[in-house]
């Protein structure tokens, strides 16, 4: 399955502007009608029904405690497809123009449609993430606080149990994830606070990625989406996946992560910005595993250096 065929949704938390102002900002891009639903009052939802009949929601978020309640907003997109990324980016820019801001409490959650996945695919996904997690966490620049609390890494026990039981169906994986067969998952289940939240597979039908620090940078959001879609596509297309955890080596980190991104299919001009944003935090050199060779490595013996002259007897500046 191509990454462009996978459906997704996104949640973006913002502060400093009311939910109404954020809703009108989204409306300026998607058109349609804006409606204050207001119920339940704790979420105080606003809805923007776009010209295609899809509903964008702007709701309150109690976790954003550093601003007054009326200035907390969480944008919940409808189910989107790959072609909708430019429009989503425009909506993000509109929110920024309207004065929407982010702070350290804000985050971004990306939901990937779990319908095409079975237990084996989800196991692959967990293993791919587990293997590359040291690189991914570093690349995304996740704060220690977020990592300890809201986006915990894939646990060793989960991977061991997946390796041991090799789940084929979602039900089999459900038992592994919860430790028992949870037929009625609840929204606020504690197991959801993982960077890759499989609890949502049974609660809402999506795989949730909770890694991301908040941003209203449209290019970064596009990069995050493409990354999640590419990981999901890799998990769907692979027959199996290795779970041998990769060490984080600062010298080769950028190279290793670039290779990982290329393996995911993020190749070519289309994904150039994704590679740029995702590798921006990585130490090392993107082109050389052990760091860029120093000039003395190339020219070990200066005695062999010869200076060339051209026909006019001038030195053209080329030394071999």
């Amino acid at each position: 399955m191509n990454l462009k065929e996978i459906h997704y949704g996104i949640e973006i938390e913002t502060v400093k502007r009311t939910r109404e102002q954020i809703a009108w900002a989204i409306h300026s891009v998607v058109g349609g009608t804006v409606r204050h639903v207001g119920i339940p009052s704790s979420y105080d939802p606003w809805e923007v029904e776009d010209l295609r009949g899809r509903v964008w929601k702007v709701v309150g978020d109690a976790s954003l405690t550093s601003v007054p309640a009326h200035l907390r907003a969480e944008v919940i997109s409808p189910v989107l497809s790959y072609d909708d990324i430019p429009q989503l980016q425009e909506a993000v820019r509109a929110i920024r123009r309207a004065g929407g801001k982010i702070n350290s409490q804000c985050g971004i959650h990306i939901h990937i449609d779990a319908a095409p996945f079975d237990g084996r695919h989800l196991g692959n996904l967990a293993k791919i993430i587990y293997k590359q997690e040291p690189l991914i966490l570093h690349a995304l620049g996740i704060s220690r606080d977020r990592l300890n609390r809201y986006t915990r890494p894939v646990s060793d026990e989960l991977i061991q149990r997946i390796e041991q039981h090799r789940p084929r169906t979602k039900d089999q994986l459900n038992r592994i994830w919860y430790g028992y067969h949870n037929r009625q998952p609840q929204h606020y289940d504690n197991s959801r606070y993982h960077g890759v939240n499989l609890h949502n597979v049974w609660y809402r039908g999506t795989v949730e990625f909770r890694w991301f620090e908040a941003t209203l940078h449209a290019g970064r959001i596009k990069a995050y989406l493409q990354f999640c879609l590419a990981v999901a596509a890799k998990a769907l297309n692979g027959r199996a996946a290795s779970s041998r955890k990769r060490d984080f080596d600062p010298q080769s980190a950028k190279y290793d992560f670039r290779v990982f991104l290329l393996h995911l299919g993020l190749i070519g001009d289309e994904f150039k910005t994704a590679r740029k944003h995702l590798m921006a935090n990585m130490p090392g050199d993107a082109a050389f595993k052990n760091g860029r060779p120093k000039p003395e490595d190339v020219l070990p013996d200066e005695t062999e250096t010869t200076t060339l002259t051209n026909e006019a007897g001038q030195v053209p500046g080329l030394t071999v």
Binding site: Q21, W24, A25, V29, V30, V34, R35, G38, S41, R97
Partner: protein, 173 residues
């Protein structure tokens, strides 16, 4: 519905906030107005016009528009917005007159003493309960206008954007 057609740079990049406004009843009418802006485009069939515009923006053959005219117009505008070439503006909904028994309904609720008049949701519920369904419906759709009415005794005259722009006066004021 109301849209802003953004001006562009010589490279075709939209300039935020610039351009001219078009207002019409629905997407089809908006497209008709856009098409009628120049004699060159006015002579084209609507579908040809939309396809030509999109192919100029997206380059080469474009994804076909839906068969149905209204859906095609909606898709056309959505794709222009995707490229940042148009911006959807709020309708002048705030100009909607309040219902006939609006003041009477609010006075009834106020005299009943059953709620704080700043509690918009409760006031809406009580107006419906006390026999003013049309007022309740208006209140549900006009929360900001109601807040302004309670605090200032007036209605704001237009939806603003980001709280920065002055509301534009209605034509009938």
């Amino acid at each position: 519905m109301k849209i802003l057609i953004r001006s562009t740079t010589l490279d075709g990049e939209p300039i935020p906030g610039s351009g001219e406004t078009i207002q019409a009843a629905d997407c089809l009418e908006v497209v008709e107005l856009m098409r009628g802006q120049t004699p060159f485009t006015a002579s084209r069939a609507p579908r040809d016009y939309m396809t030509e515009v999109l192919s100029g923006i997206e380059g080469g053959p474009t994804q076909p528009l839906p068969e149905e005219a209204a859906a095609a117009a909606a898709e056309f505008l959505t794709r222009l917005a995707r490229h940042g070439l148009i911006e959807f503006l709020p309708d002048d909904k705030a100009c909607d007159p309040w219902p006939e028994r609006f003041l009477e309904a609010l006075e009834t609720v106020r005299l009943s003493g059953r709620t704080n008049m700043l509690d918009h949701l409760e006031v809406t519920r009580l107006t419906a309960e006390m026999g003013y369904p049309e007022v309740a419906e208006w209140l549900a759709d006009h929360r900001r206008e109601y807040a302004a009415f309670v605090l200032e005794g007036t209605r704001p005259l237009g939806k603003n954007f980001g709280g920065k722009e002055d509301p534009a006066p209605c034509a009938d004021k």
